[in-house]
């Protein structure tokens, strides 16, 4: 894939984010410029506290920047209303969380249907589960699934609406290497087959090998931003 020629789907410029956590004030982003292009797979690397999750949250409309601009498909999202952000997440963004965040009282299929119910052009929840290889586990509750399976349900839930952008926050963070690889393969497949732009946050450097482009953050700033010379399939990645 040659994504560099594509126009950016989303672009953040001079992003600053300060927030309070408990009684501590955290300067999470200190002026970040970032763009994600159509069909691109970007890995955001960095140690804990480097600001990568905060950047992802702002890109996904979960959070708003304290300063700076944000544009999605040419539309200004720098000072969005609550409703506009909700619409943005609802229509365009798929989210994958480190701890899966499945609704414990819903089965795998129902967790996927939860998003299909509110999407404008969803695929069938069964197909989404098939895509992540979990068609047979559709009627299991989260507590009956392994961590890897739960994360694959979360991926099915994210892709069922066929979003333009998939944002993944440490999707393998809570998994062992073998299970993690399985999850990455699903993400890779979604990116290639559905041409969904993917931004994947991790502190696990080897995962960067599967990206088109690798961005490194340190202390709330972008340290490096470079295309990968060769994008490897997840099966070749080891950590």
């Amino acid at each position: 894939m040659n994504a560099s020629a594509e126009a950016p789907v989303i672009r953040g410029s001079a992003l600053v984010k300060t927030y309070r956590m408990g009684e501590v004030e955290v300067q999470a982003l200190r002026g970040v410029d970032f763009e994600l292009r159509r069909g691109e797979m970007v890995v955001l690397l960095g140690p804990s506290g480097s600001g990568k999750s905060t950047l992802l949250n702002i890109l996904g409309g979960l959070d708003v920047p304290s300063q700076g601009g944000l544009h999605y498909a040419g539309i200004d999202f720098s000072h969005p209303t609550e409703e506009a952000l909700t619409e943005y997440r609802r229509r365009h963004i798929g989210f994958i969380f480190q701890f899966y965040n499945l609704i414990p009282s819903l089965t795998a299929l129902e967790n996927v249907a939860l998003v299909a119910d509110i999407a404008s052009n969803p695929m069938s929840p069964d197909d989404a589960l098939g895509l992540v290889g979990l068609a047979a586990r559709r009627d299991h509750f989260p507590s009956q699934l392994s961590g890897g399976e739960q994360q694959r349900v979360a991926i099915a839930r994210a892709v069922v609406k066929q979003p333009e952008i998939l944002l993944c926050d440490e999707p393998t963070g809570a998994l062992d290497a073998q299970t993690g690889r399985l999850v990455l393969e699903v993400l890779d497949r979604v990116n290639r087959e559905l041409e969904t732009s993917v931004a994947l946050v991790t502190h696990n450097a080897p995962i960067a090998q599967m990206a088109d482009r690798v961005v490194t953050l340190a202390d709330g700033r972008i340290a490096t931003d470079a295309p990968n010379p060769r994008r490897r399939p997840p099966s070749e990645v080891s950590w």
Partner: protein, 785 residues
């Protein structure tokens, strides 16, 4: 069904015990309303149906004797549509096995049957035949009490002659739905019944041939009752008319009306308190339940759910819980109404009890309950759904604790106790809300026992302090005080004292009331008047003292003058100064010094009521001898009266007290179980960590339940004060003209209220402790937060 709806259904199922305890609270509120409103509507419907089918009269008057042609003059009065002259008299029945006299009110049956007013409804056997001299129909309750039925023989003493009669049927009458014994005003089927006989036969026997001594009148719609009553009184005055009364003052109708009104008042007080408590708890508890779903809410928002969709989702939870409560309330309320009606059916005799649900009132209350539940949850939901979606992506910051001055005081305490105290200190408002709920639970139990304790206290005052006689004898007329002394010489009689009771009508301006003046001799020992603090009250040497509500209803104050019309003998009219308004306990009366009253009536000191102090072992013999005296018209024993009052005024209280105890236990369970369960959910990670660090299950239980224990202890004491207040509020639903009850509560009541709440709380704490003992440590620690 959408996935979100499925989540709702599963959440409800997972929270089923918590949801049920909250629903039960709403249910109790609705149930008490439905029960009171339905019982009230049912009694009213049964009464109205009975009246409508029986041509119940509008005006009633008793007189000495008038020739029948006078009836035509009554018929000609404007506004009068029907008049029936009757023979009515209280005659003794000779019942085997009764030491005390048994009295039946004999009422003549006129012909043709269809033109009769106050038509009886025959419930067994048949009506008396026209012209039959020995047939009698008895009131159903009386006959059932004595085991009489069609075919049974009875003997009456009518005007000094024995009359052998045969029961041909049993009946109920709109005039005697509440068939009260005239002296006490209470239904006492062992001593009082109603007997219907052919009009001519009864008139002959009572010496009223060609005459009548009682009239009932029916008025045209829109007729001025007051005007008709004045005309009737004017017409009948020469014939010894005792003063006509409208339906509102007809004893049976009045009592039934008072019960309907009491239920209606009850439906306006208690359920309001209940529903208020329920929606308050719904708010407290649901806000905590919704609070535990913070992360799920953030996730749903991150997935694109709108705030209003999530608000609706959680409000649906509140709606479902309230609606379940409402449905429970309908069921419980229907049962409650039937329980109340079963109690009433013992005293109020309608041919049929119609069960009526006031659908509009119930729908309104149900809507209000659901709205209160949803509104109570609104702010909690608003707060919960305002969680920024990014919170789903990061762990919750540790709750903030600050060092306080109290820390030094805690220093010597074990860490577990410090944890509990810091939590309490950090969220004092939550603790206060929970303690307030416990206070309400305690208050509601205590309110129930206040009702009964106060009832017992008023009876103790009335029958041990005010009335200390063992036997009350009513004579057939005012007699010389010597008669009293003769009574004293009966063996076993310790003391005998006479009182003079005179039926009167009091008039002040346009207001008038029919009552009796009691002449009490100075230094009387067996009957003492009491003031509001239950101290003996000395009567002023001259002038008339009135029960406070009687004085107030006539608009009279101390020093005012009131017109007194005597309703017997020479029917004197005079103006008497009001000496005092007294705070007596039961009924409405006037009181005068006996000599002052005798002087006013222009008679010698005399008595028509004799109070006797009798040795307990001689009671039966004394009443037996008195019953044989021709001058004695009735004998009663205050201990019997006391149990009658207890049974009949206390009836609703009994149902209420049970409902209150159930409701209070529901509150205590609702508060403690939900708080402890939520604490377990929120702290399961802390608790599992502590277990792994080596803390015992007991220490964990102390952390989990310590706060619950503090709120229970904090709530109980103010709850006891509040309970006395709610008890007083409920007592105020009793008609003050009937009974004025001083609010009182016993140590046992306080202890009982505290125990009910403590036990309910303890039971819940034990259940939650068992759940915490079974925590799967590894699973809890694996799950994030």
């Amino acid at each position: 069904m959408s996935a979100l709806r499925r989540k709702l259904a599963r959440d409800l199922w997972r929270l089923r015990y918590q949801a049920f305890t909250i629903a039960l609270l709403v249910g109790c509120g609705i149930a008490s309303f439905v029960a009171a409103v339905s019982a009230s509507a049912s009694v009213q419907a049964s009464r109205d149906a009975f009246y409508a089918g029986s041509r119940f009269a509008d005006v009633f008057v008793h007189l000495k004797r008038a020739p029948r042609p006078v009836l035509d003059r009554l018929r000609d009065l404007p506004g009068v549509t029907a008049v029936e002259g009757r023979t009515v008299g209280d005659f003794r029945l000779l019942m085997e096995g009764s030491a005390e006299p048994v009295v039946a009110r004999f009422v003549s049956v006129g012909w043709p049957a269809e033109s009769r007013l106050n038509q009886t409804q025959i419930t067994a056997g048949r009506q008396v035949e026209p012209g039959s001299a020995d047939e009698v129909v008895l009131s159903q309750t009386f006959a059932e009490t004595w085991g009489l039925g069609p075919g049974s023989p009875v003997t009456a003493v009518v005007e000094g002659r024995l009359a052998k009669l045969r029961v041909v049927g049993l009946a109920t009458s709109p005039e005697f739905v509440w068939a009260s014994e005239p002296r006490t005003g209470l239904p006492d089927p062992w001593h009082f019944g109603v007997a219907w006989m052919d009009g001519d036969a009864l008139a002959d026997a009572a010496g009223l041939k060609g005459a009548f001594n009682d009239v009932v009148l029916q008025l045209a719609a829109g007729a001025d009752e007051r005007e008709v009553i004045d005309e009737v009184d004017r017409l009948l005055e020469p014939y010894g008319g005792l003063g006509a009364v409208g339906r509102a003052d007809q004893p049976s109708h009045k009592l039934v009306g008072q019960k309907i009104a009491q239920l209606a008042r009850l439906s306006r007080t208690l359920p309001v308190i209940f529903l208020g408590v329920a929606s308050f708890l719904l708010h407290v508890l649901l806000s905590r339940i919704v609070g535990t779903q913070r992360e799920q809410i953030a996730t749903l928002k991150a997935l694109g759910y709108r705030t209003r969709e999530l608000s609706a989702h959680y409000l649906e939870l509140a709606f479902a819980v309230s609606a379940l409560g409402v449905v429970l309330g309908w069921g419980l309320g229907g049962l409650g109404a039937k329980a109340i009606l079963a109690v009433y059916a013992r005293y109020f005799r309608f041919p049929a009890y119609l069960f009526r649900l006031d659908a509009w009132a119930i729908a309104g209350a149900s809507g209000a309950a659901v709205a209160a539940g949803v509104a109570g949850t609104w702010s909690a939901v608003r707060r919960a759904v305002s969680v920024p979606p990014a919170d789903a992506m990061r762990p919750e910051a540790p709750p903030s604790y600050h060092p306080t001055r109290l820390d030094r005081a805690y220093a010597f305490l074990p860490p577990v106790v410090r944890m509990v105290l810091r939590d309490v200190q950090r969220r004092p408002f939550r603790l206060l809300l929970s303690a307030a709920s416990i206070a309400l639970a305690t208050a509601i139990v205590l309110a129930g026992s206040v009702l009964n304790d106060s009832m017992d206290e008023v009876l103790r005052l009335q029958f041990e302090v005010a009335h200390r006689e063992d036997v009350t004898v009513t004579l057939d007329g005012a007699r010389d005080a010597r008669a009293v002394l003769e009574a004293a010489h009966l063996p076993g009689v310790r003391r005998a004292e006479g009182e003079r009771m005179v039926p009167v009508r009091l008039r002040a301006g346009h207001r008038s009331r029919t009552t009796a003046i009691l002449g009490i001799p100075r230094g009387m020992d067996l009957h003492r008047l009491l003031d509001a603090r239950a101290r003996p009250l000395a009567l002023p040497p001259s002038g008339l003292s009135l029960s406070r509500p009687l004085g107030e209803s006539l608009g009279l104050r101390e020093g005012d003058r009131v017109e007194v019309e005597v309703l017997e003998g020479e029917r004197q009219k005079m103006v008497v100064p009001v000496a005092a308004l007294v705070d007596d306990l039961l009924g409405l009366s006037g009181y005068m010094d006996a000599s002052d009253l005798a002087q006013l009536l222009g008679e010698k000191l005399s008595a028509n009521v004799v109070l006797l102090g009798v040795e307990r072992r001689d009671l039966d013999e004394v009443t037996g001898r008195l019953a044989a005296l021709p001058a004695v018209s009735s004998i009663s024993r205050p201990d019997v009266d006391r149990s009658l009052v207890r049974a009949q005024v206390g009836d609703v209280f009994l149902v209420l007290e049970m409902a209150l105890a159930v409701f209070a236990a529901a509150i205590a369970v609702g508060v403690v179980y939900n708080n402890a369960r939520i604490a377990l959910e929120v702290r399961s990670r802390d608790l599992a960590t502590m277990r792994i660090l080596g803390f015992t299950r007991g220490e964990l239980a102390a952390v989990l339940l310590g706060e619950q224990a503090i709120q229970v202890v904090l709530g109980i004491v103010p709850g006891l004060y509040l309970g006395r207040f709610i008890g007083g509020l409920t007592l105020s639903t009793i008609d003050r003209e009937l009974l004025r009850i001083p609010v009182s509560s016993s140590p046992a009541g306080y202890l009982g209220a505290a125990c009910v709440v403590l036990l309910a709380a303890l039971a819940c704490a034990l259940v939650v402790r068992r759940q915490s003992d079974r925590l799967d440590l590894v699973a809890v620690l694996k799950a994030r937060d």
